[in-house]
Symmetry: C2
Subunit: 283 residues, 2 copies
């Protein structure tokens, strides 16, 4: 098995790490606009060596794990180069723009659009984790447009990674993910911003920060290089979620201002059922 | 050592659990408005038996760990009953209203106002955890108003629990904690609300929820019984933080609406330094 990973960051690197365990004979080559990342990935044993564009036609699998704006040009370019038996997958957090970008490509059937719901707030090859995908969900879009034999190869990998598969159209993916992922990142970034801005004497305040603050602000450590193009590509959905979020916060503020504590209690109690919902997913 | 814990939930129960290990001869009695909680605490071995108000004068230490509105009447009542050698401590998330409520009490010097920055999103005696306070910060207010010998007894406990001590006036405590704790809870509750409200078909969306969503929405599992009175008592500070948070979110929305991606990038990059700040605290 010959595999190219284009973009060896948290996701690409973690995939390479697991693939090495799954197919120990695999040759994994790495490509990245950041030459330092390729070097690190080699040193960390994530990839065997640096790859070249000329080698794409020899690949069995090409994983494109670059920021979503870059994917719009990288994936079509890879599809230009593939042989008929090369599986090309992306792993981006938005699906509609990329699915549209490749819809008329003559090698569209070589491509599978995926979004593994896994990650941490860190980035780069040193952030790559073994077993990151175990038990996680992988959203696959427009599966019917991918050649059947290549679907099977992808499914074999996902099964060996321990992932659950869900099929979804790109529009639904982008709408839903705005709620459960993109909005969380904004709420966390702005929480971090609010607290940093307010407090001049950082030690005073951050010494008081407990695990609750750390948990809600964790995503504010995420990479702007990754997230700016996601917000751009999913602008309409993100704006809709953000407006509702601001509306709910404003209502909370008004209730507090008016001393409506019974209503505040109800708001919180009603939201407590997130507990059962999240427990539900874990099963 | 005779110790009474009034309110045997997450914090009171966790303290009882650790005290049992620190002073193995201690007799710990428990009191709670919920008789079921006392029974559970006995079964879990957190306390020896149910306590009575008449026993308060025999105590060496009384820990009041009840919701902050209840503390305003429970702490003065306990102070009415103590002997001159009884240490009374509260553990509430607001400090100014309670410090004011006891300021003219003839036994004010028996009281120490504390806020251990520790907890989880769960509540009740079954949520009590061993070692919860290890390495955590304990904010102590108006230490100079507590009898010196009783301060020493409290410090011995906190040292054995492994806590770091910080002294602060109640006004500063309530202002700072609004940013690093109270606002986080509101941002999380409203995030949970926004997502729950939006999605009729829960499985569709919550199957897509990753660790990022779970992390930011974790505090939305918190108890409204505990949090409603906190928001009430810290109303002015919480309103101020909430207004700034909403302003920052609105600015983010405006930048996205206007396709100002470079500015969005800067907002996120600037907030990334929360990473170093949080790492800083850990040391």
């Amino acid at each position: 098995m010959k595999i190219a990973v284009i973009g060896i960051g948290l996701i690409g690197g973690s995939l390479a790490r697991d693939i090495r365990l799954i197919w120990d004979q695999a040759e994994i080559i790495g490509m990245d606009v950041d030459a330092g990342h390729v070097q690190q990935a080699i040193e960390l044993g994530l990839v065997n060596r640096e790859g070249q564009w000329e080698e794409i036609p020899q690949m069995d699998m090409v994983i494109v794990s670059v920021p979503v704006d870059k994917a719009l040009t990288v994936v079509p370019h890879v599809l230009d180069l593939v042989n008929e038996n090369t599986l090309v997958m992306d792993v981006g957090s938005t699906k509609q723009p990329l699915c549209e970008a490749v819809q008329h490509h003559p090698n569209r059937h070589n491509f599978l659009a995926t979004h593994p719901i896994a990650g941490t707030e860190f980035s780069g090859p040193t952030a790559a984790l073994q077993g990151l995908f175990e038990g996680k969900t992988n959203i696959i879009c427009e599966v019917e447009k991918t050649a059947f034999g290549l679907q099977e190869r992808a499914m074999e990998l996902f099964r060996k990674l321990g992932m659950r598969i869900r099929y979804m159209d790109p529009q639904s993916h982008d709408k839903h993910i705005a709620y459960v992922s993109h909005l969380s990142h904004i709420s966390s970034f702005m929480l971090g911003k609010t607290v940093i801005e307010k407090e001049q004497d950082e030690r005073d305040i951050f010494d008081m920060a407990g695990s609750g603050f750390e948990s809600t602000v964790r995503l504010a450590k995420s990479s702007p290089d990754m997230w700016t193009p996601i917000f751009n590509q999913n602008k309409a959905n993100v704006l809709a979620t953000l407006e509702e979020y601001i509306r709910n916060l404003s209502r909370f503020r008004e209730l507090l201002e008016a001393d409506q504590y019974e209503a505040l209690y109800q708001e919180m109690q009603h939201t407590n059922r997130i507990k059962e919902i999240l427990n539900g997913i874990k099963k």
